[in-house]
Each structure stands twice: as structure tokens, then as C-alpha cells.
């Protein structure tokens, strides 16, 4: 009788944890008792699941209610909506990636290269110090035959007396232009905005040498700063075509050649 009660309590889930463990231990040691328990457990489960008003019937009733409330159809619509939006999300992500790739490949990279070439050219042409660049200037200034006191200027430059140079040059408008060009263009932009302003002023000078030099440096600085690029290319092409200053013509052609490779 005791065993019978234990079996009933066990199969009806009425044992506490300690009782259950003890009984399961007993079941492990007694195969006959285990077979008996399994048999009645299966009977109870079969009744619960498939008997009159069993679980199966209840589930069927609940399923009918869900069907009636269109729960499954709503779930299907929701799924399709999710799928639709998933593709939309994937498409948007793909478009953004393509745009980023396009920007990087077609706009960012060429601009970076263009900037690097202009910077490199300027670096190569940058005078090591003020005096060396002054020597170059002496050669250049020889081209400007209409400048008065030309020899005095050359001497002052060669001796590095630039402050005195300023005073002399201020008396001659063309020479003043060359001085500005020298300090701002060849002086390599220590005050960029002022230099650009001065160079831009000289870019339309009547003096062709002055105009070409200022346009050349202006073009390089425009390329580095990524602004007025069309203007920069126009200047470079113009310089590359002229035959007056060969050195400048070669430099412009080299820069243009490098930029066209991009």
C-alpha cells in the first residue's frame, strides 16, 4: 500500500524534491518497480494528453481560436513585411557602400594625389634659404630690362640686404611688383593669405615674366588648397604652352603630366 501511494504521488507530481530523489533512487535499484511506475506514468500521460478534454483537444481549440483571430495570417504578413524591409535595408546599405567607394576611388584618391604632386613640386623648388633664393631671383630679375637701378638691386640681393632693397624698390612700380613676387611667391608662403593675395594681384600684370611666375605658383597653391582648381589648370596649361621662360614651361608640363596620370 505504501508503494502504491508513492507511485501515485510520483506520477501525479506531488512529491517534494527530497521525496522525489529518494524515490528515484529506489526506482534505479528496483527494475520491477520502475517498469510499474513507467506503465502507470504512461497511462496517466496518455489520459491527460488524449483522453476526453485532454491537452490535445484543448490545443486544437486554442488553435481554432488563433485561426479565427487571424493570428497566423497576421504573423505571416509581419514576416513578409520584415523580409521586405530587410531587403530595403540591405539595398540602402549597399548603395551607401557603393557611394563611399565611388567617392573614395574617384574623388578622394585623385584629389589626394593631386595635392601630393603640387606639394612635391613646391618642395622641390623651395629654396634652402633666403640667400639662395635671392641668387635665383638675381637671374630672374635680369629678364626685366625696364627696371631702373637693376644692378643696385642685384648687389643688394647678393649681399642679403633686403631691408634696403625694399626702400629702393618702392620707388619703382615694376620693381615693387617683382619684390612682392619674390617675397610672397618665392618666399614660399609664410603668410599664406597675404601671399595668395599678392600673387593673385600679380597674375594679371602687364609684365609677362612676372605674370607667368605668379600664375605658376598661384596654380600650385590652388591645387594644394583644393580650391580654384579649374583656374589652376588653366594657368598651368597656359604656362606649358608659352616659350618665353623655358624653365617654367618644363616645370608646368611636368606637373600637368603627373596630374594627367591620375
Amino acid at each position: 500500500m505504501e508503494t502504491e501511494n508513492k507511485i501515485l504521488k510520483y506520477i501525479h507530481l506531488q512529491m517534494n524534491e527530497t521525496e522525489k530523489q529518494a524515490f528515484e533512487q529506489e526506482l534505479n535499484n528496483n527494475p520491477e518497480l520502475k517498469a510499474e511506475v513507467d506503465f502507470w506514468l504512461n497511462y496517466v500521460l496518455a489520459e491527460k494528453l488524449y483522453g476526453k478534454d485532454g491537452f490535445k483537444q484543448k490545443i486544437e481549440q486554442s488553435t481554432d481560436i488563433l485561426k479565427k483571430n487571424n493570428v497566423f495570417k497576421k504573423a505571416e504578413k509581419e514576416y513578409q513585411k520584415q523580409r521586405k524591409f530587410r531587403w530595403l535595408k540591405i539595398s540602402i546599405a549597399a548603395c551607401i557602400s557603393l557611394m563611399c567607394f565611388f567617392y573614395f576611388w574617384k574623388i578622394y584618391l585623385p584629389k589626394e594625389k593631386q595635392k601630393q604632386i603640387a606639394q612635391k613640386t613646391l618642395e622641390e623648388q623651395k629654396p634652402a634659404n633666403f640667400f639662395e633664393s635671392s641668387l635665383e631671383f638675381v637671374d630672374q630679375i635680369q629678364g626685366f630690362t625696364n627696371i631702373e637701378n637693376q644692378k643696385d638691386i642685384q648687389k643688394l640681393i647678393l649681399s642679403g640686404q633686403c631691408d634696403s632693397l625694399k626702400t629702393i624698390m618702392s620707388e619703382n612700380s615694376a620693381a615693387e611688383g617683382i619684390l612682392f613676387f619674390y617675397y610672397t611667391g618665392c618666399g614660399y608662403m609664410e603668410n599664406e593669405s597675404l601671399s595668395l593675395q599678392k600673387l593673385a594681384g600679380l597674375a594679371n600684370s602687364e609684365n609677362s615674366n612676372l605674370r607667368l611666375y605668379s600664375r605658376y605658383y598661384l596654380a600650385l597653391f590652388y591645387l594644394i588648397q583644393e580650391e580654384n582648381e579649374d583656374q589652376a589648370f588653366t594657368y598651368l596649361r597656359e604656362i606649358a604652352k608659352q616659350n618665353d621662360i623655358l624653365e617654367l614651361q618644363n616645370a608646368a608640363q611636368e606637373v600637368l603630366g603627373s596630374l594627367e596620370k591620375i
Partner: protein
């Protein structure tokens, strides 16, 4: 960690309370439909799968060895039954199956073939029910009262007092006799040997 609310929910589910069943099915419908539609199925398959797996879950949670740890664990357990069952259905149909990430993560400890187990259990339940029907009405009453409703002998006697059960002692001896008959009927059932063979 199970809360008191979880425990109440579990007990209601264990005895298949209609409202709890319906709420549970409603809460799982979307997940099951998503899973089935994503894996070469139709909405009708999802309905059937949900019912079958819920029955399987009820069966399992009514076994003494089942330990309820909390509602989230039960939800995960149910989804595992769903995915395993659907995988087996597809395998039988020869279709491919994608295991969802969250299932992959938790499917590390249970590799039991639920589908075949369920088939075996259904056969077993059929044997028991059919054998029961072959018993006399009085035996069916006694067995059902004692083993299904866990009534005492006194209660059976008081409820079904008739000429054949007019003493408590008679109920006891009748029940012993019915139990023997029932087990014999089960063991002689044509499907019983198949179950024993497959079970082993």
C-alpha cells in the same frame, strides 16, 4: 531564476489551462511562423508545428523528472523543440535547413531526436488507450479513478457504490484484478512488440 509569477504560469501550463495555452500559443506564433517560412515551409506547417510541439512540451513538463527553472528557460526549451521537430520534418522531406543563431548557441546539450521519440510515445499512448477500451466499464472506472485522478479506495467506493463494489475491500481486490488485466491487454497489443523493439 523563477519568480512566483513564473511558477503560477508554469502550473497553469502544466494542467493546460485554456487561457494560458492560448496566450502561450499567441506569444509564440510569430516566432514559429518566422522560423518555418524562413526554412522552406508554409503558414499551415507553422500551425501544425506549433500544436504538435506544444503537445510535446505539455507531455514533457508533466513528467516527474522535468525541472522548471524559469519562464525564459522554458521559452528557450520550447523553441528548441520547435527547431528540432522542424529540422526532422525537413530532413524527411529532403530539404535544407538553416539553424538560427540563437538556437545554435543553446543547442549544445540536447541532441535527442525528439521526432522519433514523439512517434514512439504516440504509439505507446495508442496501445494504452486501445487496451483500456477492451476492459470492462467497472475496470475502466477503477483504474481511471485510482491512477488518473489518484482517488483513495474509500472515495472510489463512495462514488461508485453498486453491487459489484459494495465494500472498500472489494474495490481493492477488483482494482488488483483490473490492473493485471490491463497490463496483459497492453502486452498482447499488436503494437506493443514494435514499441519494445524500437525503444530498445
Amino acid at each position: 531564476m523563477k519568480t512566483e509569477e513564473d511558477q503560477i504560469f508554469f502550473e497553469n501550463l502544466q494542467r493546460a489551462d485554456s487561457k494560458t495555452l492560448q496566450e502561450f500559443m499567441e506569444s509564440k506564433a510569430q516566432k514559429v511562423v518566422n522560423h518555418v517560412l524562413k526554412n522552406s515551409g508554409r503558414v499551415e506547417d507553422a500551425q501544425e508545428l506549433l500544436s504538435d510541439c506544444l503537445l510535446e512540451l505539455l507531455k514533457r513538463i508533466n513528467l516527474p523528472k522535468f525541472v522548471f527553472e524559469g519562464k525564459p528557460e522554458l521559452d528557450a526549451y520550447f523553441m528548441r523543440i520547435i527547431t528540432n521537430r522542424w529540422r526532422d520534418v525537413l530532413r524527411k522531406k529532403g530539404k535544407t535547413y538553416t539553424v538560427p543563431m540563437e538556437i545554435k548557441k543553446m543547442d549544445t546539450f540536447d541532441t535527442e531526436n525528439i521526432f522519433e521519440m514523439a512517434e514512439l510515445k504516440e504509439l505507446w499512448e495508442k496501445v494504452i488507450q486501445e487496451s483500456m477500451k477492451e476492459l470492462s466499464t467497472i475496470c475502466q472506472i477503477c483504474i481511471k479513478a485510482k491512477y488518473f485522478f489518484a482517488w483513495s479506495y474509500e472515495k472510489i467506493f463512495q462514488t461508485y457504490q453498486d453491487e459489484k463494489l459494495n465494500k472498500v475491500e472489494l474495490v481493492k481486490s477488483r482494482l488488483q484484478d483490473c490492473k493485471k488485466q490491463f497490463r496483459q491487454k497492453v502486452e498482447n497489443h499488436p503494437l506493443y512488440k514494435k514499441i519494445k523493439k524500437d525503444g530498445n
